[in-house]
């Protein structure tokens, strides 16, 4: 009988679900994370995370195709509906068909995943440009609100570009933050995050940028539709140039940015 796999929500945990289904020769009816409380008619089976099991699945995918592994890793970060099921179908099909599967771009086990990853890549590409930082007490602090989990893919870019800076980048949608300093980083869940008020110097640079932005447009070429197509409005909420007036005013008391967790990982390269 079909079962629902419940796991801890991590990538490793998901791979263990794949392992479990392989060992038990069964296919799950659905996936649930620990927080997911949707009632279900099917019996629920808890799958414990286990590094060795996850590694075996990763290796078995990589042996067939390195591109397939990339798709799976990125696919887990996407906001696709029934993301785990989509990945599960892909991995099963990969075991059945072998490495050639990834060339069948219109196959129903492949196309949804490729499409979801394209959407993720596109969003990450846009956010490399649309992300904004503020200098708050010497640290660069920013916020984004992406549909996909973009932080893990933005991390190498920003940590390398701002190698000598202290960085905090918060993802409002997924409630997690990237912390970076001295070549070390971590991405950690963070429930509450409120950005501090700017110093006078910070407020001045915000105003200068806003002025530049408003001045650079050519009135005779005004084309709001083109702007919206290129830069969908859902990104505007975290961009300096679209904030209301209070954003450009300083408050005397500068607030410290949140402290980084104690354990940062070595290395800033992907």
């Amino acid at each position: 009988m079909d079962t629902v796999y419940r796991y801890d929500g991590s990538f490793e945990g998901f791979l263990c679900c794949v392992f479990e289904s392989y060992v038990n020769k069964e296919s799950p009816a659905a996936f649930q994370t620990a927080e997911d409380l949707n009632p279900t008619l099917f019996p629920i089976q808890w799958v414990e995370s286990n590094e060795a099991h996850a590694q075996r699945i990763l290796r078995s995918i990589n042996r067939r195709s390195a591109y397939a592994l990339e798709l799976v890793e990125k696919g887990f970060l996407t906001c696709a509906e029934e993301r785990e099921m989509m990945l599960y179908r892909f991995i099963r099909a990969l075991y059945d068909f072998g490495p050639d599967l990834v060339r069948r771009l219109s196959d129903e086990a492949v196309h949804p995943l490729v499409k979801a990853v394209r959407h993720l890549d596109g969003e990450v590409h846009l956010l490399r440009g649309f992300t904004r930082f503020s200098d708050l007490g010497g640290a660069l602090v920013g916020e984004i609100a992406p549909k996909n989990r973009a932080l893990p893919l933005l991390r190498p870019h920003f940590c390398s570009r701002f190698y000598n800076e202290r960085l905090i980048l918060y993802d409002r949608t997924h409630r997690e933050a990237l912390f970076y300093r001295d070549g070390k980083w971590c991405i950690a869940p963070l429930e509450h995050f409120e950005i501090a008020r700017p110093s006078e110097r910070e407020a001045q640079f915000r105003r200068l940028w806003k002025r530049f932005y408003d001045t650079v447009a050519i009135a005779e070429r005004y084309n709001p539709k083109c702007r919206r197509t290129q830069m969908p409005m859902r990104y505007w909420g975290t961009m300096t140039e679209f904030q209301d007036e209070s954003y450009f005013e300083a408050t005397p008391a500068a607030v410290e940015p949140p402290p980084a967790p104690a354990a940062l990982k070595e290395g800033w390269r992907a």
Partner: protein
Amino acid sequence: MTVMDKLTILTDAAKYDAACTSSGARRGSKKGYIGNTSSSVAGCCHTFSADGRCVTLLKVLMTNCCIYDCKYCVNRCSNDTRRAVFTPEELSELTIEFYRRNYIEGLFLSSGVLRDPDYTMERMIQVLHLLRNTYRFNGYIHAKTIPGASPELVERLGMLADRLSVNIELPSEAGLKALAPNKTKSAILQPMKQIRNTLTENKQELVKYRHAPKFAPAGQSTQMIIGATPDSDRHILRLTQGLYDTYRLKRVFFSAYVPVVENSLLPTPDTKPPLLREHRLYQADWLLRFYGFRAEELLTDQDPNFNPLIDPKCNWALRHPEFFPVEVNTAAYEDLLRVPGVGTISARRILYARRGGTLYHEDLKKLGVVMKRAQYFLVCKGKIIDGLRFSQDTVLRGLIAAEKLPMPEIEQLTLFN
């Protein structure tokens, strides 16, 4: 004058320049430096202004004071306008602080001619020097050389910038003579030639000594104003092709002329900027650079201007029925590229996917092919799409209907059909 005022004046004066892309040189980050150009390669837009144009770089003039009097330019000396000059310190600090906040990908520095060309270039070099050496800025810099500056200064500027540009300004010598009396074709082409030669030498040096300093690693570009002179599209496109061939330019930019002045030699001030024409020229430029087309194929002496209703590739396809249909499962990459609705990415996906099995019409949309255009020109295993019937006339209508133009006034144009 405050930095805010200067920024306003000098952004306003630079905004008609079209070249605001970054590209070309991938440079990783360095310890102790700020910045890299690894996203500059992919052409990273940091925002889009209200006119829908991508903003990548802090695009400003060092000064809008100018001793010259080019008729089409807001900064010409005879124009009564507010003038400002950035000090190198102000401009380099602004660049760095914008960069740290991820507002920009780097700096695009251009300038009016202050006192004389060499003096102006010296000041620009100071800005770049401060950025590169004091701030240790490792991000993208595009600098425009000043016409008439001495070759040593062009060389020094190139050692600090990622890209140099020399603006050709107008598409013909007659245009220059009438509208930019202080500039000549040979004075414009001279630095372009110098930059090309230095780039070649530098490349050879880099082969020998890996750590030889790099001269303008993202190459050189140029731009010209469209619609201020009576030159045809064919003339402009052939000139563009010549510039790519002869000077190995990385990009040629077109800038639709926005009337800024009343002058009997220029279009009247109520003329709309020729945006659609600019758009068609960019599409054609793309075909030259990535699709293997030549200017002579796209426009003929009898037909020297682009059809406003359909893009240059569709226009070519309609005039060359003998080339079609193209078989998706066997055609060479170059031939796939000539099919309307197929781009470089979807053509590559077709090559990749067809090695995994035969492709049919249903598959193509998922590979990113725009079927509304491509359907008339493609076959899969010798078959056209089920149920499709067409004649020359209906293809034209279909293609016009499939046009998606980024400009509002042009949408109306297509409604007449």
